[in-house]
Amino acid sequence: MASTQHALLSPAELAYLHAALSLTPPIRPDGRSPAQFRPLVAETGILPGTNGSARICFADGTEAIVGVKAEVERTRGGYEGEIVEGGGAEEVVTDVNDEEKKGESDWVEMTVEIPGLRDDDATTAFLGAMISEALLADGGFSRRLWINRRFHWKLYLDILLISPPLSYPLPLLSLTTHLALLATRLPRLKSEGDEDPFFDDDWAAARYLYPRNKKDGKTTARPPVTLLVMAVGNNIIFDPAKEELAVADVALAVSIGEDATTAATATGDDASLMMDVDSTTAAAAITSARNLRLLSIRTIDPPSRLTPSGVPNATNTAYGAATTQKQPEARTAEAEAVEGVWRAPRGGAKPLVMAALVHKVLEKGGIADEVLDALHAVDLG
């Protein structure tokens, strides 16, 4: 999948960028270290009409807003109308097993809007697919939307990129979605069992979709995050800017989730119950050992493949080389690399590089850990 419109760069620039990024340590155009992200401004709760919302603004001016709206929907295949008055009383089981709480992926509807691109543009569709895929990969998320056997929450996620796509917007959109979901609250359920859901009017009593620990206000489980990682030579670079992506050998979108180690915490009600009962032990167990999980990996077709190759001085007619050159000769000249001349990368990614990329993301105290920690610190007002 091609990543947005490719940046138009001259072969000389591409050769320079590639050379600079292949050094050890790489020299990035904006001077960041390989694992450093662009500084970003984040806030939540900016849209009063939504269940949860967030805004993230990168220092380069790209900005995204995500709004989450929820509505109650009747579950298809649930036993609609089967409960007869009176007779249903026995059927209503108050404690439902976790296994029974199953979500479906169509409980989440996601729209991605990128200025200047059509809704059915391949890039937009692909971005939306990648973000929703990470969210729905393990079924843990849609399980949170379970109300009872007959009803569930339907979640609408509206992801808007406000600025023109100056760089590949995937990390920005994913981080914003993550924050918005963390800030999402659903009204507290007052009804019990499988009766028609009835909710508490008091918004202050609303429950967070990702319930948090009362003591330190931190959540026990977290929505997934998709990170953009690229490799140039043997260097692994995080959060690439547009011009960096333009010379990437490999670009990967890696989605990671935090596995709630004690699987029981995955469901909303149980987690809140646990918070009340034995918050100390549970919270300690979870915060101390973050259990990162790889949810999905997608290769992004780096725009570098479409770039024009540079012409070495030896074959440059404007440079003074003989004008009459046969085609086969030109081809052999292209095959061998000349220093300082840009050649678009050919072929696939090396397995070793791919493995190193994934390892770097997932390792303990690695990037994913730190990104999640940083997002933790955002005030979820």
Binding site: S10, P11, Y16, I27, P29, Q36, P39, N316
Partner: protein, 360 residues
Amino acid sequence: MPVTILAPKAMRQDYGQADKQNISDDSDDADSSNGGAELDYAELAKADAEGHTHKRPRIAGGDFEIVTPGEVITDDPQWMRGHGTYVAAGTTSIISSVAGTITRTNKLLSVRPLRARYTPEVGDLVVGRIVEVQAKRWRVDVGATQLASLPLSAINLPGGILRKRTETDELQIRTFFAEGDLLVAEVQQLFQDGGAVLHTRSLKYGKLRNGMFVAVSGMGGGGGVVRSRRQVWTLEAASGGGPIDVVLGVNGYVWISKHVETPEGLVEKTSGITNLDESVSATMYSSQNDRIGPETMREIARIRGVVTALVDNGLRVDEDMVMRGYHEAVEMAMVSSVGADDIYLGGERGEQLAAVLTAV
């Protein structure tokens, strides 16, 4: 820490204070706020309480007032309209056509846009990127409202021969400049509609290589590249970086590259017009970079960081500021925890740099 997440900046608090020293007082154009969205809730509530709507108060202090397109600046006929304003037919009110700050020169009202595209002027040194190749000319993106054009007849041919451009040249037009290529040129001529015609008929101009490009917004908001005495200079980089060329295009496109011995340098060594021509052909249309050491690359990235930090903090970009900023950045890196190799100048570090530069 790879990620720094900052809290959003608080809204300006002085925004709500009504400015009675406006050109137009509130009663004059009370109707102007009826059509648009009112964003100032505090003021709106106050207006509601008083039973009528108020014009959005402008930023107090009198230094600058921000207007948006379509906003009535005044309907007092004593004012004359300047750039960025228009007078609707049949009325006397002056309306802003851009978002920007009001400037008053005697009785002339004009609006300086916050963001503007580059307006070419004859003689400007610009950095451009080829976006289109046509039969006899190239179309060049110079950050203006329209693409500039570079005719085939306005470039130096390799070999330096002065001759008529032939069909052969037209056929191999891409060997000179292809799509995406960067070049430095001069604005030779302007069309009525503001489109520019460029030329590269000097040894100073031509294709760019051996370096890095950065686009900063030209003019508006105080930041950006300004026209100055010298747009191109060579500096001696710190920590063994060697000489580095900086080209500040008036259009806000900046090119920073390793300095290579220019043809002018060769001119002094050689003599005679034919030798000069030979040397021209040697560098003119090459897309092959020379060998560039990591030290040079690091310093080029540092200069790029200085330029972006200047723009991010609304400072002007010219030779003086870039040089001072660069020396300051080198000093800052010395005391940084990472060491002299630390070239990152984003976020807080950029603000720090700007603070030092404005303090002097």
